[in-house]
């Protein structure tokens, strides 16, 4: 399974990370190996196997619709890198 530098670019763009030219070459090779390894699964005949949606033997875990204000919402929002005047602040988003 060929994994080109272009594929590294694409994956990096989806993950919003910057990858240097040197790393790109290394990652292309490494990712190709990883995919080849995982690709072994494709050799199995899974025609009769139902796709797994969840690995735990659980279903229908619910909570009732009761509202409860988080008393520590202040502390939660202060985790943000930049919080000011009741808002999370981000670089200008232009639509």
């Amino acid at each position: 399974m060929a994994f080109s530098e272009k594929d590294v670019d694409y994956t990096a763009a989806l993950a919003r990370i910057h990858v240097s030219e040197d790393d790109k070459k290394v990652f292309a090779v490494q990712l190709e190996h990883i995919l080849a390894y995982v690709n072994k699964l494709n050799e199995l005949d899974t025609q009769q196997v139902e796709p797994t949606a969840h690995i735990l033997p659980l279903k229908n875990v619910f909570r009732p619709d009761t509202a409860m204000k988080n008393p520590a919402s202040d502390a939660a929002v202060q985790q943000a890198p930049y919080f000011n005047d009741t808002f999370y602040r981000v670089p200008p988003v232009i639509e």
Partner: protein, 475 residues
């Protein structure tokens, strides 16, 4: 060349649950920004979301009301993308196993019923709200909305005109309102709509390239945006160019759509099953119980109105398009059997007077009981239809009952023949020329005389009786 538009709508309905989809944060609108938040909806590491059962139930109810099949097995998936209003870097949504699929909505377009297919209805979480500051300044994000349950309702590309799109939205909104599962307020964003629009030469089976139109904030806006987009696409094709598949934003002030930004790479959301949430497995019995407990829905109610009250489809359609309006009608109809008259008064006077005062009919001081009483007073001859107009406005302004207004203002209709005869003789004596005209065969002249009599009696004369007595007097 004649073109045929092909339109599909994607509607997001915010459910009116008390708490968010996967955490207990409150959902009410208008709170101080970022106070209805917790580690779960902010996507902090190590938290565990748990599904709000009411949200799932509301989604199934909506699916049933839209004639959908309900999935006995359903699950959540992560839709991965980065945007500042999405705290986790993914939205919990549903991909290949939506809660409901394959349904339909019936619309009534100028008397003709048409079925619009519903592809799917699924449950997902809302994103936060971006607040854009002045040019160049940082944007703000409010996560109060993040994690509020949304229903995404996707239609089949069955819609052919902007009017049909409008009717589909109206029908959908009515159904959701009847179910009581959302406030359906487009201004507050509890109902949002995107449109997929393409055109093709008439008769061609294959769809043309579509564009996605966003940013409409009213049903009329959706209708206008689609109209504009159809014309724009025609111009593009007729000038020999190709339609670019893209997202376009509607600008309501300018009345046009413009390209959002050229997205060279298509969306790659890398959906995968949400490992933190376990599947929903519902039993047929549970679905049946929900189905049995559905309220009467707008479309069947419209047909019942036609049958039970003998109303024209036009009246029944408007009356049942809004649950509270239909309830108002039925409260009147339960005490007064002048069914068509009630409808007439509601569809003209009630709407007009409420509109003039910029209030909802539901806030009008005229209660169903008052309107029914007034109509009964017309039908038993106590007041004329003309006087009723005065009474109605007075009811609107003072909130007094019709009988009280009639008594206070002395508006009771004059149905005493002797009393009327006096007025008639006077009028006949004062207008010999007109009388002569009438006698000479000018039928219209009687209208003038009736008018004079009504003027003399300040509109209180019983019109039918005036007519009869006047004709007798003119012999």
């Amino acid at each position: 060349m004649e073109f045929e538009p092909v339109i599909g709508l994607e509607v997001h309905v915010q459910l009116n649950t008390q708490s968010k989809l996967f955490c207990s944060c409150p959902t009410n609108f208008g709170a101080v920004p970022n106070t209805h938040v917790c580690p779960v909806c902010l996507g902090h590491p190590g938290v565990l979301p748990v599904l709000n059962k009411q949200a799932m139930e509301n989604a199934i109810k909506c699916g049933l009301a839209l004639n959908c099949s309900i999935s006995l097995f359903s699950k959540f998936d992560r839709k991965n993308y980065f945007y500042p209003d999405l705290p986790k870097g993914y939205q919990v949504s549903q991909f290949d196993k939506p809660l409901c699929h394959k349904g339909h909505v019936t619309i009534v377009d100028t008397g003709v019923e048409k079925i619009i297919g519903v592809t799917r209805v699924h449950l997902e979480e809302d994103a936060g709200k971006l607040v854009h500051a002045a040019h160049g300044a940082d944007s703000g994000v409010d996560f109060n909305r993040g994690g509020i349950p949304l229903l995404e309702i996707v239609s089949e590309p069955d819609i052919r005109t902007p009017d049909e799109a409008y009717l589909y939205l109206t029908a959908l909104k009515a159904i959701v309102e009847y179910l009581g599962i959302s406030d359906c307020n487009m201004e507050e964003g509890s109902l949002r709509c995107d449109a997929n629009v393409s055109i093709r030469p008439k008769g061609q089976k294959q769809f043309g390239t579509k564009t996605e139109i966003k940013n409409m904030n009213s049903f009329r806006g959706v209708q206008k945006a689609i109209s504009y987009e159809i014309e724009r696409q025609k111009d593009v094709i007729l000038s020999g160019e190709k339609i670019v598949q893209e997202t376009r934003l509607w600008n309501d002030d300018k009345g046009s759509t413009f390209s959002m930004r050229s997205k060279e790479d298509a969306h790659d959301y890398r959906y995968f099953p949400e490992p933190d949430l376990v599947p929903m497995v519902v039993e047929q019995k549970y679905i049946d119980t929900l189905r049995e407990n559905l309220p009467e829905l707008p479309f069947p109610r419209m047909h019942r109105f036609i049958e039970q009250y003998g109303l024209p489809e036009y009246d029944a359609d408007i009356l049942t398009g809004d649950k509270a309006f239909a309830d108002y009608y039925e409260q009147c109809a339960s005490v007064c059997s002048e069914y068509k008259m009630i409808s007439n008064w509601m569809l003209s006077d009630l709407i007009r007077e409420a509109g003039a005062r910029k209030i909802s009919f539901a806030d009008a001081p005229v209660t169903p009981k008052m309107l029914a009483e007034m109509i009964s007073l017309i039908s038993n001859g106590t007041i004329s239809g003309k006087i009723a107009k005065i009474v109605f406005i007075e009811m609107f302004d003072s909130g007094k009952t019709p009988s009280k207004i009639i008594e206070e203002k002395g508006l009771v209709q004059i149905s005493n023949p002797e009393e009327l005869q006096k007025v008639i003789s006077n009028v006949v004596a004062q207008h010999p020329a007109v009388v002569a005209e009438f006698k000479a065969g000018k039928e219209k002249s009687i209208g003038f005389l009736v008018g004079q009599i009504m003027k003399e009696t300040k509109g209180k004369a019983n019109p039918q009786l005036v007519n009869t007595l006047l004709r007798e007097a003119l012999g």
